[in-house]
Structure formats: structure tokens, C-alpha cells
């Protein structure tokens, strides 16, 4: 089986681990992406919170500081045949950044697991949205099984 690399980003620190359950030869990478951080500057508190969470996860995570595009391209060169995956972020601007890197470095973007299906109707007001999804949301939450 080809070695697999899960690229974690700051929306899915644990979710990638769940996605990777049962996968052999799997490693995990988190990049503090300097390009993204310049686009969305943050305080030290936020970086520290993410870093501490990475250290607390039950698997070893390779943690890198740099331009994520360069880091991921380098990984591909160092390990020919490496299958790299990333879970799609919700943030549209982060998605754009990740999609650009994924296209360049041949990374598969996985759909993020959903709590419930989106409403069939266009719902940009909360209570319309809530009414449309409430039943499915409660049902899915009751049946959640063991997951984080």
C-alpha cells in the first residue's frame, strides 16, 4: 500500500485522525502556513492554542513553519508515490488557498463530514434554515455513535 500523508489544517485538528482510522502507513502533517497567516494575522494566543492541541493529539504530528505550498511540494519530491489528503475547510478563503496548493501538489481534497444535509431550499435567514434542518440534525446527533 502507498504511504499516506494527512495534511491537517486549523479547522480539522482531530477530524483528519478520524478520517484516517484504519489506514496503514499513515502520517500526519500540520503546517503553520506563513502565507495564510499573513492574509489572516492572529495573536500568539491563537497559535499557542493550536500548537498545544497538536501536541495533545493521540498520534505524532509533524509540525512545520513555512509556506504550505513549498512544504507540500517538497514532501512529494522526497517521497515519490506518497498519497496526500486534506479535508476541505469551511472557510471559503482558506479553501481557496488549500485548493490552489492541492492542485499544484496533487493532493486529494476530501469532503468534510457533515452533521446533516444542507436544506434543499435557499435559506439565508436563520429560522428558515433551522426549521428546514432541525429534524435531521437531532436524528443524526442521537445516532452519532462514537466519534469526535
Amino acid at each position: 500500500m502507498s504511504p499516506q500523508l494527512f495534511w491537517l489544517h486549523d479547522e480539522v485538528l482531530s477530524e483528519a485522525l478520524i478520517e484516517a482510522q484504519g489506514t496503514e502507513c499513515c502520517t500526519f502533517l500540520f503546517v503553520f502556513d506563513t502565507v495564510w497567516l499573513r492574509q489572516r494575522p492572529v495573536s500568539l494566543k491563537r497559535i499557542q492554542f493550536i500548537y498545544e492541541t497538536l501536541l495533545a493529539l493521540p498520534v505524532a504530528i509533524e509540525i512545520v513553519y513555512g509556506d504550505a505550498a513549498e512544504v507540500l511540494k517538497q514532501k512529494g519530491l522526497e517521497h515519490p508515490g506518497l498519497v496526500c489528503k486534506v479535508i476541505a475547510p469551511n472557510d471559503p478563503e482558506l479553501f481557496e488557498r488549500i485548493e490552489g496548493i492541492a492542485n499544484e501538489a496533487g493532493i486529494a481534497i476530501l469532503e468534510r463530514p457533515r452533521w446533516f444535509p444542507p436544506p434543499a431550499i435557499k435559506a439565508f435567514r436563520f429560522f428558515k434554515f433551522y426549521k428546514a434542518v432541525r429534524g435531521a440534525a437531532i436524528l443524526a446527533a442521537r445516532d452519532r455513535g462514537v466519534e469526535r
Binding site: 500568539l44 513553519y65 436563520f126 469526535r148
Partner: protein, 263 residues
Amino acid sequence: MKQLPSKFDNREALTALIAETFESELIEGHRQPSSIHGQVLSEAELAECIQPAAYARTRNFYDGAVSRLSPFVRHGVVNRKTLAGIALAGGDKPAEKFVQELIWGEFWQHVAKGRPSGLWQDAEPYKTGFSSSDYASELPQDIVTGTTPNACLNHFIRDLHETGYVHNHARMYLAAYVVHFRRIRWQAGAAWFLAHLLDGDAAANNHSWQWVASTFGSKPYIFNLENVAKYCGNQVDCRPKTNPELDASYESLSARLFPARTL
């Protein structure tokens, strides 16, 4: 590109490494970590944080029974479905408000996906009697430093800067103050919150600022000192003499803040 360590002698060593490595990316000042630690919580620990019935009764109060799990949800350490499942284990009725609040988070993601330009652009015109060009684009120094004329707001700004966590009601007060009392574009405030809040998520944060501003809602949200005192008065300085800009009735505030607004 730099490989970062995964073992530290103590928390201070991690803080020092971040301050040095991320010097060019971090916002100015604010080099202290939060008292909220990044960690992985067990299901039992999560359950301890969730009190659905008390949440429904007290969530709007500064010291109400809110879970404070939002930073963990924001970073995908735990998902909203799991939290809803834990809450629902105690019965549907007491969990209703808590689950509804979790669905708000999903709603904001849904809106951002359907209208990505709304993250930083006004979704609709202001309903304040002013146009967007009437609002300043930068936060004034007294807001950034938490030295406004109002003690209660300075308290909330300290929460933001020191812990990266602000109670939801206090977030609304700060947003309304920035946009309506000081007439600053919501984008400046949204970026400020995003940089500091541990749960800072552009979809929820920016659309909430737009809602307060009235660019994603039918009217501007405002508050007065009486309201702050009702929900925060036992924890925060809400005396009229230390909060001079806020001590007024809604009628007089509306007239003062939105003189050109037609109802």
C-alpha cells in the same frame, strides 16, 4: 521552512518559541498565551461542560452556564454533532436551546458557502441612515488598548486580549459600540475579533458583525447601560459615572446614533 519541535519542558518554552518563530506573522503586541489551553477533551470532560437546562435559562448572562467549548469546535477538536448528541442524552426539551445554538454555527457556514463575498463585503446597505462611506475604516487607539470612556467595555476588551474568549452578549455590546457609537466599519472590528478570539471563525464572526451593523439584518443592534447591568452587573463595573457614553434610554440613543434613520 522550519521543522518545529513537539516536546517542550514547560508552557513558557512553547510561548517563547512561538514569539520568536512567528515574529513576522503575529499581530503587534499581545505576546502572552491564553489561560485556555489547547487540549483534547474526553467525552466525560465534554459532558461536564454542557448543562443544557441551565444554558437555556442563563446563557445571556456574563456568568451564565455556557459551555466555553467554542475554541475546540472551531479547530475541529470536537464537532457540533457530538456536542448535540451529549446534550440530547438528557432529553430533547432541555437541550433545545443548546442544540439551536450549535445549529447557528452550521447556519453561518451555510451562508458563507452560499455567499462567500459576504465574508468581507456588506451583504446589504446599512439601515442606520448612513452609507458605508460614512464609517471609518480603522479602529481608534482607545478601543485597541481597552481605554474607552466606558469601564464595562474595557473589561470585555481585556477578556478578548488576555484570554481570547468573550461572552457572546459582550461580543454584541463591543460590536455595537464599535459600529454605531463610534461609527467604524464592521470589517475593522471583525478583523480585530478574528485575530484574538480562540474560536474566531470568519463565517460566524463576520456575519454576526454584519448583523449588528444592519448590513445582514433589518435594523441596527444597539444596547444601553441598563442592559449591560442586567446581564453583567454582578461581574463588571456598570456604574453610570464610569460608563458615560452608555447611560441613556434606547429612545435617546437611537436619536443620537441614527439621526437620519427613517423608521
